[in-house]
Symmetry: D3
Subunit: 283 residues, 6 copies
């Protein structure tokens, strides 16, 4: 009998039960204020991963040798961010309950909140490492508390002061930047303080959220609000390597926008980064 | 003293007080389920109108000779359709209060609901002429009552049976098409029944809502859910001519998606249609 | 336990065993002489079908009510057309052996040859209905016998004279057009002779091959060698309706090229056509 | 010794001396008021012609059987329309002097003026057939007498009243349309009056200028100022057939804009049209 | 009474009279020799600035706290560079007369000449800082003295030897590069000599002209003649910081070409640079 | 008599007999496994070179002063890699026989094999310098021995152990990378070992093959399989300078894919690189 040729991120075709990491897409960009499109990111990565190698010369490891399950994309309602976050939370909780690591692919950055809600149920002491060009610390945006521009503030509502470590930040409103000085650790423009953070976070459960626009616009133009003056691919890779020995209990990668990536180069970079992160984080 | 070179739809640069029609953009596409982008429609029309003539050889009339005010774009929150609709309603009400005709440029089709709410306050007997490829009569979509796919059903909530006349319809779920048979007048694929409708609507206040995907995909590819088998530009123009003697108290034109219009031809068509409608409806 | 959200053409998510039609992608464009890209067609249709309705107002039928299996895409080697055709033949044969109808989505038109080889094993009396802008009757192209430009000639090698009925043809070399006069039935530009063909083919096993460039360039620009002067969507739909009572034992739809379809309108049309064909052919 | 593989419009690779028609590109779009790009038209046609057949099933004739010389592109200065026109005039004059027919590929429509200047030196009695969406009869545009929007008016300066026959016109300023009523023959929207014109022009030297935006936007979106409501490809082809027995002493085809033709379908149509015109006009 | 929602660069919505800097667009690309499109730059920046923050973490300053007037775009004739430059000169003169700083957004680089003409009327001792990949020192280009490739030579006609300081240059004809050695100060590839220039220019009136292609192609691909081997965003930002204490009496930023920026990343960078320059230069 | 304006890479318009280097296009991408398009590279470079300067400020040399012949593009069959390679071999052999240096512009990387076959006939002792992101050392790919992914392995079949020096490698299967350790010299990520290689190769005949994806994705997005973490333009330029004194007997530059380069920046970079290489290698 013929079987369907299943469409999966390359090298992530293990069974759910045997897998330690579960990748899934959260195709939501309903609050994106300028140019939407991140809803297509996980699907594009699935397609583009076809041209990626499963082997990493950086780590001398191979995706074929680790167990990862690609669960496909959630089906989220666009006009209702509250409900979308709920569905993400439920899904993430199930993965966590089975003692696996959820690795969510956004979507806009707001999706992170759904996953963080799930993780904080389990890990009261959760800390967050946040790579981004934007501080995302507004209390509301255009009158809305749930937005890509408020998501880290909403996470702070859950974890509180001194639990969030931001890197690569180079954009924000005056108000949120000033607020951030008192409530989170912000490293502007680069990863210079990362060793310090790693030291503090040594024994803590950590959530890693990567907004891909932390990368320089030259390196990653395919995103809705690109910010010049960012980090290179190698700098990001080294930063991930540095934190990979921490106890990362869940993670995400957001804000790839395939309609803004006509050459496909940003999507290809996201695939490669996904591979490297999986190989670094897996144990 | 230097004055700003104001950015306005060509020929719509009159003062508000002297104008009889008020054009405004409702740049909202927050519930778009597949490919967003209609939020940029009014802005694109404003830019592209620069290359349009103000004179219509079809009607031997000129935009320069009538008084229209282009109010620019509303600023709507993307993650909150209820609030976006509210703002549209308030804005439309103000125009209507001043005894002018609001002409809204979407955005996704959901924006129509905001304007219809405003109009039904004034015209209890409101009837709706609806040009579209999709019947938009679902009761909910992905669990949401407010959606581009439910908008005409929500309008029906306000105006009731036998008040809505649909033309050009060629797509829908089985359920909504069957529901429509009992509650609205639907003319599939074309404008064949239009004379009949004009006859019935002769003395009624009418809201005209045009989803531009009523046009064939060849004529109007620049939209999120193009549907083959639609009408030509000349057929649409003739239909508008036919109804232009009715008492049109408000109207809209929705679903142009500039990011899906790389040649600019769909945007140019929308500009031309806008001119023809303004010249037909103005009196 | 979590299950993968499987990525399938909308409404084609039945089990293999219960299905009567098996859709599969043959992502091959290795002989395309000018602008490649059809290899991405089936994948694009799978993505885009998300925004399609399963219900057809044209036929008052619903994909939800019939059993179709989407087998995903074959994995074909690009530099070796002979081997690619072999794999298509083997796959098609298996479907036919199980008394199901294979519905292949190209890829360039050459893929048809693989399926026809499988079908002629079973149906010695096979006839072919061929909708296309190009006659594809060359004996070789740039020295190669296996090419998108020779595919129907290669099919003629298998079925012989008076078995092939071409419609919509409006391009070819002088030599192949003259050759065609003696060996196949060619209806230029349109479907005018279709009734005649239907009459002849009444009791024959029929293979239907649709090169989507039979459509006018306005209707279907998203293809590698668009030809002006073609048929409309409604004309194509009517032609398919006319032949849908014949004994169609296998079929295909080829030459959608997503990289040449930046608006997505050609892909959306292909989805709609796929739905209508499935509903017409299914019994 | 190796020879260069010369880059030429397919089938137009004859020597200059043996050719009766000389095709050349006039890559100028320096006065284009909105979206430039027609400067790339002739080059794009040269590239795209690679995928065109030299044989016409419409006429049962083949480019291989006639003698046409493709002279490549002129090198024109963008900021100086007067000088660009001069160069076009000189080049056209040389072709005419050698008793050949110049067939210029624009560029914006202004280039026509250079060729007409050359032709009127030889043919004092020149008449012009003008296919276009726009009447191009302004006396000046943004203060400039030389512009794509004034080009036919400038031609009128040379040939005078009742010598210009326009077809397909559907856009213009009120002033130019009114002016046209008294000085040229204008057939709006279509080719309905063409027989009448053919009759008048029977024994006259004729210049044929085709602005490709005479075609409907669905058929030809790849142009800077597309106008809905135009003619189909078959209508244009029939019109050309009708006038092909006139004494056409020079001709042009303008306003293809490749940057606005991401699918390539408009360029492909221009290639096919070029082939058909060459085969019709050649004797 | 309703007011128009004015379309302005974010944070540049002050009144003319209270403003110290006046931003305006000079949408001219009429001499661009290869790929035009810079005419859309100012309009694109106006649209895209919507997604920019008004606050700069680099300077801890906010556009909301300074007074800048965005005057919109000039309306310039494309086929007549002399007249276009005249209009730019007149407009710039008016701003200067009111003791404000004109900040022009091109357009192609030629527009700089119009502004320089205005400034040299007031400041006989004017010096020019020129950031660019191309030296623009030709005496004529394709026979024309007014061209994007001759603009700095034309400025030299006005200011004379040793008044022009070029940085980042990495392209030019042999002739112009050799000519430059005797008449201007050229720093190739980077900003290494900038301190030297700042020292010399300490007490001089300075015009700053930035051709954005001084940036590396990776950082700024959205321009007509990108040149590999350029500077990074941070290097450009630091260079601007260094010169911001000079007496900058007028400035411009040219050569963004939105049609060549499908991802929007170059436009976003231009917005951010505009903000930083405004905050640096304002006093 | 009029002559054709020949379409040639700028500055490469010398006669064959007087030229020392012969540039030609090998427009083949028939085995490209993911996104094809490199077949258009040489043609795009020919067009784009129009906007390039012939003078290099890096070397103070000018293409006008050296003799290079641009032979245009070969015409290669897409479905038959063996035959395509044969044609490349024959063409390269002819150039070599005439004691000129062939400089091939791909196409996909597989084309290199055709040229290497020609060179190894003449130079039994041939060594290869290979700049690439991918090691291309697989023994077969999808069952095929001739593929862009196996090309350097096929070259190794001809030259044997210790003759191939790879630089910039950062992608490959585990198997090929391990195989490479024993048979070729591989420098990962950069050019660090280049001096060592130059030393060894001092007196050897050298073939230089540059897969342009050796560049970082930010620098060169316009290619089918971009790999983050690559070298900058200046690093590549310096590497070429370093090896330019070796005895380079033939060379190529592959994998530019114009359909993936919507801004044109990658094509412009390839033009500039071509100029610099020609000026470095020519003697």
């Amino acid at each position: 009998m013929l079987e369907k040729n299943i469409h999966t991120i390359l090298g992530c075709d293990n069974n759910y039960s045997e897998s330690k990491i579960v990748v899934f897409g959260a195709p939501y960009d309903g609050t994106t204020s300028y140019r939407p499109g991140t809803r297509f990111a996980a699907s594009a990565i699935r397609n583009e991963s076809y041209s990626m190698e499963t082997y990493s010369p950086y780590q001398d490891k191979d995706l074929e040798d680790i167990n990862v399950f690609d669960a496909g994309d959630l089906e989220l309602p666009f006009g209702n961010p509250a409900k979308a976050l709920e569905q993400i939370e439920v899904f993430s909780s199930e993965i966590l309950k089975d003692e696996k690591i959820p690795f969510m692919i956004g979507g806009e950055h707001l999706v992170t909140l759904g996953a963080i809600r799930a993780v904080t149920q389990l890990h009261k002491d959760l800390h967050i490492i946040h790579f981004d060009a934007h501080s995302d610390l507004r209390d509301e945006y255009l009158g809305e508390p749930l937005s890509h521009a408020t998501v880290i503030r909403r996470c702070w509502d859950l974890v509180g002061d001194n639990r969030i470590f931001q890197f690569g930040i180079r954009s924000g409103s005056k108000e949120e930047i000033y607020w951030g000085r008192k409530h989170v650790h912000t490293c502007f423009y680069n990863f210079n303080d990362l060793d310090y953070a790693v030291d503090i976070l040594k024994d803590k459960p950590v959530y890693l959220t990567i907004d891909l626009d932390v990368l320089d616009t030259s390196v990653f133009p395919g995103t809705g609000t690109p910010e010049a003056g960012g980090v290179t691919f190698n700098e990001l890779l080294n930063a991930i390597k540095k934190i990979s020995n921490l106890n990362i209990v869940a993670l995400d990668m957001t804000e790839l926008s395939p309609p803004l990536d006509p050459s496909g180069a940003s999507t290809a970079l996201a695939c490669k980064l996904l591979r490297e992160i999986l190989l670094y984080v897996y144990r």
